[in-house]
Symmetry: C2
Subunit: 709 residues, 2 copies
Amino acid sequence: MAHDRKAVRRVLDRAKKAGRSALSAPEAKKICDAYGIPVPREGLAKSADQAARMAGRLGFPVVMKIVSDDILHKTEAGGVIVGVKSAAEAKRAYARIVANAKSYNKDARIGGIQVQKMLGGGQEVIIGAVTDQSFGKLVAFGLGGVLVEVLKDITFRLAPASRRDALSMMDGIQAAEILKGVRGAKGVDRAALSAMIQNVSQLVSDFPEIAELDLNPVFATEKGATAVDVRILIDEAAANHRPRPSREAILRSMKRIMNPRSIAVIGASAEDGKIGNSVMKNLINGGYKGEIYPIHPKADTILGRKVYKSVLDVKEVVDVAVFAIPAKFCAAAMDEVGRKKIPGAVMIPSGFAEVGEDALQDELLSVAQKYGVRIMGPNIYGFYYTPQNLCATFCTPYDVKGKVALSSQSGGVGMSIIGFSRSTKMGVSAIVGLGNKSDLDEDDLLTYFEQDPHTQVVAMHCEDLKDGRSFAEVASRVSKKKPVVVLKAGRTALGARAAASHTGALAGNDKIYDDVLRQSGVIRAKSLNDMLQFARGLQVLPTPKGENVVIITGAGGSGVLLSDACVDNDLSLMRMPKDLDTAFRKFIPPFGAAGNPVDITGGEPPSTYANTIKLGLEEKRIHALILGYWHTIITPPMVFAKLCAEVVEEARRKGIDKPVVASLVGDIQVEEACEYLYERGIVAYPYTTELPVAVLGAKYRWARGAGLL
Amino acid sequence: MAHDRKAVRRVLDRAKKAGRSALSAPEAKKICDAYGIPVPREGLAKSADQAARMAGRLGFPVVMKIVSDDILHKTEAGGVIVGVKSAAEAKRAYARIVANAKSYNKDARIGGIQVQKMLGGGQEVIIGAVTDQSFGKLVAFGLGGVLVEVLKDITFRLAPASRRDALSMMDGIQAAEILKGVRGAKGVDRAALSAMIQNVSQLVSDFPEIAELDLNPVFATEKGATAVDVRILIDEAAANHRPRPSREAILRSMKRIMNPRSIAVIGASAEDGKIGNSVMKNLINGGYKGEIYPIHPKADTILGRKVYKSVLDVKEVVDVAVFAIPAKFCAAAMDEVGRKKIPGAVMIPSGFAEVGEDALQDELLSVAQKYGVRIMGPNIYGFYYTPQNLCATFCTPYDVKGKVALSSQSGGVGMSIIGFSRSTKMGVSAIVGLGNKSDLDEDDLLTYFEQDPHTQVVAMHCEDLKDGRSFAEVASRVSKKKPVVVLKAGRTALGARAAASHTGALAGNDKIYDDVLRQSGVIRAKSLNDMLQFARGLQVLPTPKGENVVIITGAGGSGVLLSDACVDNDLSLMRMPKDLDTAFRKFIPPFGAAGNPVDITGGEPPSTYANTIKLGLEEKRIHALILGYWHTIITPPMVFAKLCAEVVEEARRKGIDKPVVASLVGDIQVEEACEYLYERGIVAYPYTTELPVAVLGAKYRWARGAGLL
C-alpha cells in the first residue's frame, strides 16, 4: 500500500503551527490511515446524542475517550470509559467524561469525544518508535501487559525496518512463544504485525520530526492487528542529521594513511624515553620501508635521518604526520600539515577533551577540517599496520602478521591487545587507537578494512559510537564478508533517559546497542577476554558449511561439559544417523558411546583419535568438529597434537576444510600442544571446555548473520 | 497454627484403600483445612436445589465443579462452570454439568457438584510441590498465567522450607517486582503467601506419599491468599528414603582414609608404566611418611619395600588399600581388605559400571558393605592430600600446599585440576577423584573438609548428586564456614520428565539444582574455568566486612569495563561520600576523576597508585578494592606489583585485611606482575577486566549466603 505523505505533512504542519508537541487522537488516526496502520472504526462526537448514534452505527460495545489538547493523560483525568453497551449508556458516558474533564482541568478546551469500536480478544502487543542520539530512528516491538513491562521484554531495530527485520523482532523477544499460540490459543497474524512494524518504521523515517510514537496496545489476532491507542510526539530537534563523508572520500584518505609512502614525525627526538624518540625507533626498527622525516625546530639529524624544521620544508609527498608534541602546539602544527596536504594526522598527544580541554580539541579539528586532514585521536598510542611493517606508535613494537584488525577507544585496552597478542602468538593486520575520536572512528576503520585483503576479521572495543547509524550501515555491509566483533563497554551503566512515551521509557541504551549490533551482523563480545579470544580464533577457523556439529572426546566428563557449552552457544549437536553411528563404532571400544558426543573413552591409542577425527572430517553430513582430549600415557599431549594436525592437514589437501576446535585437559604439557594446534589452524585451549566452543559459536553466529548457512 | 495430621492421614488412607492416586476436590479441601491452607468457602451439593441454596448461602457469584473420581480433567469434561450469578443459574448449571459429565464418560460415578465462592482480583500465583529423585520433596512458587508458563519463571526450595526460604522465593522469580505492586496495584500479602508456601512444604514433608501437589491458581491480594484449585497426587514410591551413615560414622572412616598411618597397594608393581608402579612411586616420592605395604602374589620387594601376598599377611594396622588390579579380581581382594578391617579402599581400576559392568560393581560394593569398608571410586585417578604429602594416585605427583580441596566426578576434569594448579601455582589441600561414586560421594568429602583445618575452600565438579538432599544438608552447614564451589555438568541436557502436575512439568532438572544449590549457600560455577579460578582466588582473599566496593584505576577504559563487571557480579560500587572524594582528589591530577571508579589517569608515577590504594585500605567505609593497572614507562608492571603488595602488607600489619583484586592491562610483563601479586594474596589477572571481578563477586556471594554481610 502506498503511503499518503501529503496527509501526514498536513497534520504535522498544523500541529507545529499550533506549537503542540503531542498530536490529538483524531490527528494520530489520520496519520495511521495515511500509513496503512489499522485502527478501530471510530468517530468524533460533539454531543451526547451524536455519540449515541455514532456508537449505534459502529456497533456496541464502544470505548469513549476525551479529545482535548489540554489533557495529556486521559485515563488519569477520568476521560476514558470502556465497554459502553447501549445508546443510553453512551449518552451517560458522554456527560460523565465531560464532567470529569472539567473537574480535572476547568480550563481544558474540549474538542469532543472519540467514540471507538471496542475490540476484544487477541494478544496485546506494543509497537513504537524512538529517536536515539547515536542511532537515530528506531522501531520497537514487545508484548503488552504489566508482566512484560516488568520484564522489559522489548526489542529494537533501526528504522526503516525490512520485512525480515520486522519478522525477526517477533522471534527476538523472550516471550516469542506466546505469539505462536499457546494453551490452545491461535497464533497471531505475523504478516499483519510485521506490516505494522514496517509502516511505523517507514513513517518515522519519512518524517524525522516524529520523535516518539506508541501504538499501545495493538490487538493482534489470528487475522489482522489493530492499534487501539496511538500516541505521537513531535520535536524538530529529532530531525537533525549528522554529515558523513562518502565511502570514496573515506577510502581516499584511509588508503594513504594505512599505506603511507612517507611519514613525518612532528616532535621527533633523539632523547631516549621521549615519545618522539620511541615513535622514530618503532618506525625504523619495525621495518617500515617508506621515507621517515623527523620534524624538529633545532636538531640536524635524529637516528641518522635528516631533520626538517617544518613539514613544509619537506619537498616530497608526505602521507602521514605523527604528532609527538604538547597539546598546545598541535593546532599550529596542524595548519602546516594542512598546507602540506598531508591526508592523515596521528594525534598521540593527550591534554585535549579527555582532560576537559574541549576548546583545544575543537580548534585542532577545525584547522584539520579546513584542509581536509583526517585525525586519528587525539590521546592515542598510535597505530600498527603489519602489511607495511608499520609501527606508528610509542608503545612496544609488534609485528606478527595475521588476519585480524583490532581497534580500541581506550589506551589500556590497546595495551591489552598487544600483551595478549604477544603472549598467545596472535597474528594481526592492524591495531589502531581511536582515543578521543575527534574525527576518525569505527566506521572509517571498517570502511578501510572491508576492502583490505590483509584483514579477514575486525575486532573493536568502544565505549560509545559517535554515529551508531553510520556504523550499523557499514557493519551490515562488512559483516556479510568478514566477521566483525565488538566489545561495547559501559553496557551496564544505563544513562537515565528522559522519555515521554512508553516505548521511550523502555529503551534502555544497552538493549538498543545489543539489538542494532545483532541486526548489523556484528558479533558482540561480552568481555575483553572474549573479544581477544574471538579475534585470535575466528581468523584461523574456516567458515562452516552447515549446522551439524559433532563432539569427539576421550574424556566422558569433557563430553558433558562440551555439550553444555554447545547449548550455551546455540550450536546444534548433530543427531547421529544410524550408518554414521556404526561407522564411528568401528573405531571405538564396545563400551564407548557413539551418538554425539562420540566418546572414544580414555585409554585409547593415538590411532583411535586419528581414525575418528578423520571420519568426522571426511563425512559430508558433519560440518564442524569439537575435540575433547584427555591426557594419558598412551596418547600424550604432543602425540595427540601432531596426529590431529596431520589428519586436518591431510583433509585440507583433499579440499576438506572444516572448523575444528579442541579442549585439552591434562597436565601442563597440554599447553604446548594447544599452541602447536593453534599454529596449524585448530583452535585449542587447555583446562577449559567452554572457550573453544564459544569461539566456534562466534563463527557460527557470524556465518548465520552473513547468510552463509 | 498447628497442623491436623490425623485428618490428613484419614483422607490419604481412604484414597489409598480405594486405589486412587488423585484426590477429589473435597478430599483436597480437607487436607488444605488441616494444614492451614486457605481455600474458598464451598460445599458439596447432591442436587440442583441443594446447589442453589448453597450458592445463596456462600454469596453469588459461585463456581461449580464436578466431583468424580472417574474424571481427572474437569474442564475438558465440561465439568466446570464459572460466574454463576443466581439461584436459577445454579440449578441450570447443576443439570448442565451432570449432563456434560455423563456424555464425557457415561460410566463416571458422580459424587456431586462442588459449589465454591468465586474469587476475583489479586495476583494469580502457583504454589506446588514435587518429588525429585535426588532432592526428595521440593516446594515451588511462580506467577500464574500463560506468560509465566512460557517464560518458565518458577523457583524451587527443599521442603520443608523455612520462613526465610519462602520469602526468598517471592524475590527469586524474574517477575518479582509484580508482587510488590506495579502500575498502582497493591502489593501482595507476603506473610500470607510465605505461610502458604511453608504449609505446603510441611505437608509434603510430613506425608511423603504426596508425590505432587498443585495450588493453581492461588489468588494473592493485599490481605491474604486463597488457593482456588487444589490438585494432590499420591504415590507410595515417592516416600522412599535413602539410608545414610551418620556424620560420626563418615568422619571415623574419612579421617583414617585422609590421614592414613599406613597404605597397602594391592597390585603394586616394579615395572615402569604399570599403574601399580606409578602409585608406589608417587607415594614414596611424594614424601608420604607412613608405612607402605606393596601387595603382590609373587614379588619379594618392590622399590625396596617388602612385598606381602595379601593384606592379611600385614601384621600392623592398615588404613587405606589402593587397588591397582583388574576389575575382575577386585571383589576377592576386597574381601581380604574387609577381613583386615581396612576402613577405606581407593578403587583406581576401571571396567565397572562405566562400561556397563554394573553387576561387577554391585558385587564389589556388597562385599565392602559387609565389612564397612568405604569405597572411593571405582574408575578414578585416586587422591592427593597435601597435609600428609600423600599422592595416592597413578597421575603425576602434585604437592603444592594450599587451602582449597577439589574433587571431580570425571578423570578428565581431575587432570585439568592438576594441570591448572601447576600452571597457575595454585596450592591445594586435596584433589579427590570420585568416578563412579559407588559409595563415597560429595557429601562424605564435604563432611570431612568441614572439620579439616587445612581446607578453607571446597570446589567440586559433579555430573549428578546421588543424594542431593544429603548434599544440600551438609553444604548448608559447611558453607556457613567455608566457601563451597560446585560445577554441575550436564546442566543443559534436561531430561524429559514425566509429570502429572503443572508444577512437575515446570520442574526442569537444572532449575532445581540451581535453586537448591543457592538455598544451600553453594557458589555455582558456570564453567570449568570459573570453578578453577574461584578455587584459586577464593582461598587467598579475606572475607569482606561490608558491601562497599571501590575501583581505583590508571586506565579510564578499564574503569568502564570493571564497572560493567561489578554490575554483572552483583557488586555494589560505593557511592563516594564528599569527604572521601576530596581525600582521593588530593592524590590525583586535577583532570582525573574521583567518584567511583577513582580514575588516577594513565601517566601517574608509582606514588599515586600507592597513595590511593593506601587510602582505600585505611578508609573504614570501603570494604573491598578493585585495581585497574595500566602499563606505562613511568610505572612499569613489576614496580606496580611491588608497591601494591607492600601497601597491602603494611595494612595487614596494622590489622586491616580487605579483599583486593586487580586487572593488569599491558604488554607481557604484566603476567609476571600478576603472579607476584597472587603469591601475596592479591588476585590479579592480565588482559581481562572481568575475571578479577568475578572472583571477588564469588567471595561476596558466599559471604552473603553465610550471613557474614
